[in-house]
């Protein structure tokens, strides 16, 4: 029986794009396209199975071996720092982590900076490197509201085109790090399935170059 490689894909727009890359690389599972409530899609002959997972959970499935490989955004990887291999930059879902604030905001270094964010670990690491004292406000969504309502001075959040920020009177102050989708692998699973995982990595690398 062929060795099965289990792949965790992020639910949503990014996941659709990523699945298309897998399919283009020859790792198709046609069943996944049909409308149904199934959670796991298996292609026994080709030796892999896919399942849709909440994007922020992909790294957990991979770290704990429930998935051998998965695709997660670099933002999630930087925030949670799972102990996994990061085998490839898929160069899709490209955006950046940035500091933003109301247009015209001026940072007073004598005050503690209030930072609202969905990524407290990234925010703390960024400001620690600058030795800047901050107060982290951990929010779960609509981060742009925080400086508008005076909850925070700045936000640390993902920025794509910047349109949401502009439409709400905010502007990017500083870029922190570029973000894109990454192929990750469970370290122990990699030891026993390295040939199969390398084959997938090479196939995706070709798809990225194309």
């Amino acid at each position: 029986m062929k060795t099965m490689v289990n792949v965790a894909l992020p639910k949503g727009r990014l996941g659709e794009k990523v699945y298309a890359m897998f399919a283009a690389a020859g790792f198709e599972c046609p069943e996944i396209r049909s409308e149904n409530r199934k959670l796991v899609f298996r292609n026994e002959a080709a030796g892999f199975s896919y399942f849709w997972v909440k994007p922020s959970d992909v790294a957990i499935y991979v770290e704990r071996g429930a998935a051998d490989i998965g695709v997660a955004g670099k933002d999630i990887l930087l925030e949670y720092e799972p102990d996994v291999y990061e085998l490839l930059d898929l160069k899709t879902g490209a955006c950046r982590m940035a500091v933003a604030a109301l247009k015209g905001f001026r940072d007073d270094p004598e005050k503690t900076l209030r930072v609202a964010t969905k990524f407290p670990h990234i925010a703390e690491a960024f400001y620690a490197e600058k030795c800047r004292d901050i107060d982290v406000i951990h929010l779960n969504g609509s981060i742009e509201l925080a400086p508008i309502l005076g909850l925070s001075d700045v936000i640390v959040d993902i920025v794509e085109s910047g349109r949401t920020l502009r439409e709400n009177g905010l502007a990017v102050l500083e870029d922190i790090v570029p973000v894109s989708a990454r192929l990750i692998a469970n370290k122990a699973g990699f030891k026993f399935k390295s040939a199969e995982i390398e084959q997938i990595r090479r196939g995706l690398e070709e798809a990225v170059k194309a």
């Binding site: 957990i60 291999y85 990061e86 085998l87 490839l88 030891k191 390295s194």
Partner: protein
Amino acid sequence: MDFEEEILKNDEKAIFELRALYRKYGYTQYKMSKFEEYELYARNKDFLVSDEIITFTDKNGRLLALKPDVTLSIIKNTSDVPGAVQKVYYNENVYRVSRSSHTYREIMQTGLECIGDIGAYERYEVLMLAAESLEKIGGRYVLDVSHMGVLSALFDESNVPAEAREKIIRCIGQKNLHDLAAVCRTYQMGKGILEKVSGLISLYGPLDSVIWKLRALSGGKAYHDALDETEEVCRMLESGGCTGSVRLDFSIVNDMNYYSGLVFRGYLEGIPSGVLSGGQYDLLMRKMRKKSGAIGFAVYLDALELLEGDNKAYDADTVLLYRDGELPDAVADAVRKLTGEGRSVLVEKRMPEHLRCRRLLRLRDGRIETVEDHG
């Protein structure tokens, strides 16, 4: 011994098998208390897996810790005896924060340390015992071997700045070629070092399939000396019969402040994280003002319950039900008869909810009736 092996859980079986294995090579057991002075760990925080330690003040006002590690205590209590080698094994509970649940856990850990005049034979013996430990625990295993001297030689050859070293080490640990290229660009390092480190990351596998390409990556003496030490121990393991499961993999990186030589990790199929971790930690010995070298490893037993063998088909073998009015002597007689047949028996008046048993019997007027039998 009056019990069957199958009642032992995977971690219990491992403890006994490994104890027998280590004693076979003359290792004696090191036993220690649950508590150590907190200062020992505070001074060596980077050596620990996690620096979150449970502390408390004892009756004399000293700050103590529930031990997160055993190696540091063993080193603290060794004496430098030139030319000699001390060999100890241990089986102790350590207290650490779990990465995933962020709560403290008691973790059963076994392992050994070989302290003193460490040479090629001692390195081989410890790695051989690591491989045998994995084999005894059962199933397919992989023992990945690496050498910190290989990496530090490459760094020194190319004068890689200290800041960059940390970032490069993180990329190597993640087999992350793309971020490695970005780091080299940021620090304006030549193509040479990028090619060498990328080569190091990509060349992994059994010794013979990678050693020649590894040798070709650099010409430096320190680099080849480190590879010599690695090749020597791997060849000895091969002649000892550990073919196929021992591999070179330089993505194993341990803290360079403590490990300057061989480092290794063991994996068992079916367990998502490494179960064995070790290395030669001469630099830690120096830090603790000991003159000799040391090499050892730890086996994390709490992960073993994920292996096959710990799933029981039944919670109980035989359940014997009796009614009010049944003579207690008759119940006792029935139980003696059943246990005498080698069965385990749970006596109840009512079948417990959610209990799965192989056989369900009923005692009626002193006679045993079978209600269900799953064979």
